[in-house]
């Protein structure tokens, strides 16, 4: 036995000694921007690796020589012959090219067919910028919603429903830091400025162990580091907003910055109109009112040396709805009335990358994120001789997180690519606080009511290994542990994650995955209308963490080096889901919220088809989803719908998205999207009846009641829409200008937003009536890039 063990150790040692590690960073030759997901493939040993979120790769190889093929979509492939002697560093600068399709595809195929990760889609940022959207404002979330398996709520909302999950079950990561509210304008636009975005990965299932805390999806967004050689930027002016982005070196090839900002200016244009109306009415009044949103993305990257980098990222975005009224009188003094509603996020992070050894890479992150939702009302009356009356009310709600996280990438052998790490999050919830201050001469008051502070602590640790068992089989094994402490309760959760790939040919693979997820946060939100009423609350002693288990399996095929095809099926079981009770109204009040909701379970299953073409003159994708999502609330004391199964609100049988961009020349390109989906499920009482709601005393309540057979028993009309966008680029002396013409809802489809029963008193008839939001909306924008 001892001899056998010794022999095993010796052979393992010999195998380790014969290995050579090649590591480095892959960047764009012109901008110095790190490339995420670029592939490095040794054509000799047929081993490969992809760059991580920081553009870094590690490849451990056997033998004495290798030929590394380095490729990335939209870049010219490079080959690097190497004599393998110990650990080596190979940093690669790729040259961008859109014409060399053949070589570009190789990297693409490796990722699509070879990776062990099913249920993941990489969304091309260039495509995001081309997809036509409302008011010409490009929108990351709207494009993500065009992917199979992802549904939007209803028109005008940014709510995402992934594989039957709810809108609060998606983890939005901006440079690795969670963002809570990703909406602007009550959901019409998302908070992500596409100018600042470098990479978008969407995970719909089979989540790698490094991700956690949400049930249904992870949208991992990485922002630009900034050009490390020269200054570049752009300005866009559209119908409702303007954008600016600038990037460049602070210290050439060492320290870079990237800054993007945008703001809507409808409120500024509105002020003269309001002033004219007020002047027309007369009186000594001054009125300001309007709505705007803005966001700013800033990032500074410093390269200490090839092994060490520091990233500082900052995001700030707010929506503001305001009204101010001021009345002056020479006799009685003045009166002012101010109402402001502000909501938005701040996300800041500091990350330090360090290559401890060629095989071991570390990323240390400290982050802060805050979502707030504040309403303020101030009324002041000033008499000629001083202050008479002052009243101030504030409503505050929000969540703040302070996060510390340490992640490692470790590639000990050619066939293992491991990741492990741990993290801690301090949550500070402010579910709902109201304060009132009154100063009215003799009467004064200063009081605060509501639940102001609720603290929770969350810890997590994970380990995962991407293990290439053979050329045919590759698996990703992972384990995620999270623990959540709140109100003297501790909820631990151990979540296994497994995915695997079977490579039939270079072009065809089958993948399968399983993920167990736990979520400790709930979003109390009105799902039917777009209002800034989001309230984040943690699990409590009574409301248990949500859990899900999902299995997914699919076939992935690369057709003629130009088209990636996939078909994927999934089944997801969810437990401790929340639904509002019958009759509960959701006007943002968190008081007693536990009594307004029920806990139940649900399941979703479906099949997704995706055909995606990312290169050539014609790019885009066609996606189709067939799905089914049900809910059952039958736990004792938590019953809904008479303990019968009912379809989820966003259960949709069919969902089709077609996104196409055709580049006629360097000067002209045309994009079009067409979406179709089955109508949302709504609840209609199909029979009216006299409830005979009388008492034995003979008092009749004269009323008609509505009998609802089951929740969500009726389908709204189906939703479909076509958007078209045309870009005209022209090279100018110092840059390029782009004129964009977009048409949203090109054939003016009146899509359903809400249904109600109307009554015509003249004809004594009732009718089902539909509210629609957006008709055909043309828009124009002008962009200048230098």
């Amino acid at each position: 036995m001892k001899k056998t063990l010794l022999l095993l150790l010796l052979s393992l040692s010999a195998s380790v000694w014969a290995q050579h590690t090649v590591s480095g960073t892959i960047v764009d030759e012109h901008t110095g921007e790190t490339l995420i997901g670029a592939t490095v493939w040794d054509t000799v040993s047929r081993k490969g690796a992809a760059t991580n979120q920081h553009g870094r790769y590690t490849l451990t190889l056997k033998g004495d020589h290798a030929v590394l093929r380095v490729s990335f979509v939209g870049y010219e492939t490079q080959y690097h012959p190497l004599q393998l002697t110990g650990s080596q560093r190979l940093d690669v600068k790729l040259h961008g090219s859109l014409t060399l399709q053949e070589v570009v595809v190789t990297g693409e195929r490796v990722q699509h067919v070879e990776s062990s990760q099913p249920s993941m889609v990489e969304i091309p940022v260039e495509q995001v910028r081309n997809v036509p959207v409302l008011f010409g404002e490009t929108d990351v979330i709207k494009v993500v919603q065009l992917m199979p398996g992802v549904q939007n709520g209803s028109e005008g909302t940014s709510g995402m429903y992934v594989r039957g999950g709810g809108p609060d079950e998606n983890l939005f990561l901006l440079d690795g830091v969670p963002m809570y509210n990703v909406n602007h304008m009550g959901g019409f636009f998302s908070a992500f400025n596409s100018d600042a975005v470098k990479n978008i990965n969407l995970y719909k299932g089979s989540f790698p162990a490094r991700f956690g805390s949400r049930l249904s999806s992870v949208l991992d967004i990485t922002t630009n580091n900034g050009n490390d050689k020269e200054y570049h930027g752009g300005v866009t002016i559209g119908l409702i907003s303007a954008k600016l982005n600038v990037e460049g070196p602070i210290i050439k090839e060492r320290t870079t910055f990237s800054l993007s900002a945008r703001r809507t200016y409808g409120d500024l244009l509105l002020q003269p109109v309001i002033a004219a109306v007020v002047a027309d009415i007369g009186g000594n009044q001054k009125v300001n009112a309007g709505y705007y949103f803005y966001d700013v993305n800033a990032k500074v990257t410093h390269k200490f040396n090839e092994r060490s980098r520091l990233y500082a990222s900052y995001y700030m975005g707010d929506d503001a709805l305001y009204a101010r009224l001021r009345t002056r009188s020479y006799n009685t003094g003045s009166e002012s009335w101010k109402l402001g509603y502000y909501w938005g996020n701040i996300v800041g992070s500091l990350r330090w990358n360090y290559e401890l050894t060629p095989k071991l890479f570390m990323n240390l992150t400290g982050a802060y994120t805050r979502y707030r939702n504040d309403l303020g009302l101030t009324i002041e009356e000033n008499a000629i001789d001083g202050l008479d009356f002052a009243y101030t009310s504030n409503f505050n709600s929000g969540i703040q997180d302070a996060t510390g996280r340490l992640d490692f990438d470790y590639a000990p052998t050619p066939d293992h690519n491991g990741k492990f790490g741990l993290g801690y999050v301090f949550h500070h919830f402010t579910p709902e606080t109201s304060s009132v201050r009154l100063d009215a001469g003799n009467e004064s008051m200063d009081t605060v009511i509501g639940q102001s502070n609720l603290m929770a602590n969350e810890v997590m640790a994970y380990v995962e290994d991407d293990w290439r068992i053979s050329d045919l089989v590759k698996v990703n094994l992972g384990l995620n542990f999270t623990g959540f402490a709140v109100q003297d309760k501790f909820y631990p959760s151990l979540q296994p994650r497994v995915s695997g790939r079977l490579l039939f040919t270079d072009r065809l693979s089958a993948k399968v995955g399983y993920a167990y997820m736990t979520q400790y946060l709930h979003l109390l939100s009105n799902s039917s209308i777009s209002l800034p009423t989001d309230l984040w609350v943690p699990v409590t002693a009574n409301i248990l963490p949500m859990q899900s288990q999902q299995v997914a399996a699919g076939l992935f095929y690369n057709f003629r080096d130009s088209l990636n095809l996939s078909v994927e099926g999934y089944y997801k079981y969810m437990d401790n889901l929340l639904e509002y009770k019958d009759g509960a109204s959701f006007w943002g009040s968190s008081a007693g919220w536990e009594s307004k909701v029920c806990m139940g379970r649900g399941w979703a299953y479906g099949i997704e088809f995706l055909a995606q073409k990312n290169i050539g003159k014609l790019t885009g994708w066609i996606g189709y989803t067939w799905s089914h999502t049900d809910r059952l609330f039958d736990y004792p004391g938590q019953e809904l719908n008479e303990k019968e199964v009912f379809p989820a609100k966003y259960d949709r049988r069919h969902d089709i998205s077609i996104v196409l961009t055709y580049k006629f020349s360097e000067r002209f390109d045309l994009s079009a999207t067409w979406v179709y989906c089955t109508g949302n499920a709504v609840t209609l009482g199909l029979q009216d009846f006299d409830p005979d709601f009388y008492t034995p005393t003979g008092d009749y309540y004269s009323t008609t009641a509505s009998y609802i057979t089951t929740r969500n028993n009726y389908r709204m009309p189906s939703y479909h829409r076509m958007d078209i966008s045309f870009n005209w680029h022209k090279k100018l002396h110092y840059g390029t200008r782009t004129l964009n013409l977009s048409v949203y809802n090109a054939y003016n489809r009146q899509n359903p937003y809400m249904l109600y029963t109307s009554y015509n008193y003249t004809t004594d008839e009732r009718a089902l009536t539909q509210i629609s939001l957006f008709p055909i909306i043309p828009s124009i924008s002008y962009t200048y890039k230098f």
């Binding site: 309403l375 009302l377 209308i529 006007w587 009594s595 005979d692 009146q750 009732r766």
Partner: protein, 321 residues
Amino acid sequence: MNTQLFSHSRRVLLLTLAASLAMAACTKEIEFEGEITDPLVVLTSHSEADSILSVRLTYSRFFLRTDSIRSINNATFTTELNGSLTNTAFQSTGWGVYRSNLTLRCGDTLTLHANVPGYGEVSAGCRIPQRPVVSDIHREIIPPDTSGDDGYYYYWYETSISFRLHDPVGENYYMLRTIWKDSITGEQREYYFTVNDDLLFPESSTEDLFGDLTSNGSDGREYLFTDEMIEGQDHTIKISIDHDTNELKDLTLEVCSISRDTYLYHTTLQAQQNTSGIGTFSEPVRIHCNVTGGIGLLDAIAVTPIPYSSSSTPTPAPRKR
């Protein structure tokens, strides 16, 4: 008061936003594309211990139709009392109402089958609960304070009654209501009153702008509650009522044991009424029924009456300055 004002301001702002959105949007009438369902038979019967059984049968109506609710006057019935068929006679009195000769007692289990020509059979069952046991009844009559008053409230007294409710072990449901019965004409109706009980009726439950399901008795005429918070215990309940001195002798507080079905029917019906119209921003409410083959409720209650006046509590004279 100011915090309430602020709270309402916030909700009104949100409502204004929603209304603006709706106004900016366009509306159009659309075809109903689902199945136009056939009318259902609605059976309602409010059975009370020591009273005769009466039943009402009507048809429901498709929600886009505007014709009147149709009564069913040609149904036949069979009844089972405590598991045995009874020879109960039912007589149609019009408007879909049938009166029987069957008197129900506490503890009786009733199953009712109604056969409607052209529709089929609907049936429902209920058990008449035991009367609630109450004790330690105390009455207090507070006369109106006329000092500095313009006399408008001169005749209005406030009477409060407290009593101890003995809740038996098990799941129990209750209703409180006040009945005014004219001693001369015999006319009777329900009367508004107030229950001051934070345990059974927490204040937060009526916080929503449009009300919600937990706002029991929000109309002040019927207060429904469960024994969830007082399971198997004695609990003292205090109610108060404003009344004219002349009405006191005609007022009776009724403490009722009700069935779970009755509780759910009434609370869901109230919740639906509260959330209709502008409350479309609330979750729709499915009304609980206990009728097989149709909809409606076979009700079951048992009443313990507590008169507001008693010989030991003479009406005091109004206080004067």
